[in-house]
Symmetry: C2
Subunit: 332 residues, 2 copies
Amino acid sequence: VTELRQDPTTNEWVIIAHARSKRPYDFSKDREIKSTPAFVEDCSLCPGNENMTPPEVAVYRQESGTSPWLIRVVPNLFPALSPSAETGERLVDSHFKAKGGFGFHEVIIETPHHNQTLPKMGTSHVELVLQAYRDRYKALSKETGIRAVLIFKNHGVTAGTSLSHPHSQIIAAPIVSTHDKKKLEIAKEHYSGTGRCLYCDINSWELENRNRLVFETDRFAVFHPYASHYPFETWISPKKHEPCFGNANSEDLSDLAEVLPKTLRRMDSVLGEPDFNYVFHTAPVDDEGREFLHWYIQLIPRIWTAAGFEIGTGIYINTSVPEETAKYMKEA
Amino acid sequence: VTELRQDPTTNEWVIIAHARSKRPYDFSKDREIKSTPAFVEDCSLCPGNENMTPPEVAVYRQESGTSPWLIRVVPNLFPALSPSAETGERLVDSHFKAKGGFGFHEVIIETPHHNQTLPKMGTSHVELVLQAYRDRYKALSKETGIRAVLIFKNHGVTAGTSLSHPHSQIIAAPIVSTHDKKKLEIAKEHYSGTGRCLYCDINSWELENRNRLVFETDRFAVFHPYASHYPFETWISPKKHEPCFGNANSEDLSDLAEVLPKTLRRMDSVLGEPDFNYVFHTAPVDDEGREFLHWYIQLIPRIWTAAGFEIGTGIYINTSVPEETAKYMKEA
């Protein structure tokens, strides 16, 4: 099987090159699973080291007042974007465009326990993490000049983080990427042509076919997309049409608090606790009301490497077949 | 310094976040430089193991006839695209688009010597490698149904290759990526507005400013682009306007045979022989005559990791400043 599949959300083609790998599911070999202590003395995110981070912008406790914190949200010590930076656009050397690095970059410390990753937390704690995501989304999306808010998680060194304490990040940016603008255009065109949300359609196609479905709940569909760019790429998509994650209600978050760790546990079981990223795709700030957009989570285990072809063309070579990887996750 | 810079070739913004790294140039620490033998018995690309690859499509020898080979070009044993695959487009599950995985995927074995990387080869051998690139470009671009030909090199495990024997790859694809279509549109618009090639303009801006210039020769400008997506990203761009690498003449290749290894040696010296990719950007096959396109080489040391933010938005966070990295390379 070698075929090209078109991603309906970006119109980009993906090469599904099953034949490139002799043992396509042997992604977990040689992965060393280390045990991690509950507390690390020099970890800047562990309790007792609160002075190693900037002062918190939000905190969640068991009880109000001075009881120990459960979740802390702090500005990133080395932010990609900063609220104190300039906002204006200017010409550099008469030819190039620059903009001040205005924005926000926060770290969500998900738990006081150094070794309590999302799949190991209780559901109610995961729900609190998701509430923190939503609270920070709402707060940052209201800031003047912010056009896009991305919630994401880098887990493990190959996923781009050096901090092993469980944490997520939020970046609020003054621009919408050309990539997201393209996706918006495509979704808009689909809506104009059909009267339906493209992502609602994708959900119903996947729920109908079921050959790429991992599992579903009342509120979410979990599947490996038709034109997956990466092996075991997994989408968690709300069945209810909603462009903006900030508008997810408490029933949605409560369901998601079961769905997200369950998905991660299955991935861990099939692939041997790989490093991973997930990102919350959601409408740009001024487009939160658009009927053609839809929020969803994209989960990507780091069992691939973008090489020269991907860097040079933007076309991904996926050495596994989504129908087969979904089956693995379904049976896990 | 935290600022956004717009890539003039894609219109995408890049975040230049110098402040994120305390020691931005300390990219080479802990890199282990291993010595490699000249011959490895079970290496499928070493002489004597020719039967471990498919039969060669081209071979270059010291003398004609049966003298030992200097360069072999063979089809990839696990090709991403294959000439025997179908070419037609079809609908899958009534909703999704697929295309047969038609195309070509070849490996250019650059030398019989397992340990003779490009910076260590003599100039005349590098020139022969470049001639092989051009020959295969010309042959593959003439194949019916081919729309884009990418020459690229993955060097080292983190750059996406498991084979350590010096080799490059060529993939000839039946599609132009949406990324390349966007670049083409932007270049066309620049040409319409100014009457000049965007890439010729970029060359002259860089040659004028010189603050991102690494070095220049009669025929090439080597610089770190203004909106570099990756630390130490380096462009090698011909000064002469030419859309298609296939039209590079023997003087161009002769000059490039000095420029390319020199650039790699400087990168090795500053960064401690990092893994890297390079790609030859060139016009799509049917657009080889376009006055607004321009071929160039993009070299990327693998001293970065795309994390959740990059995957989620397509916006890159570059933790170094091109003016500073260029200075390092200039002084190497």
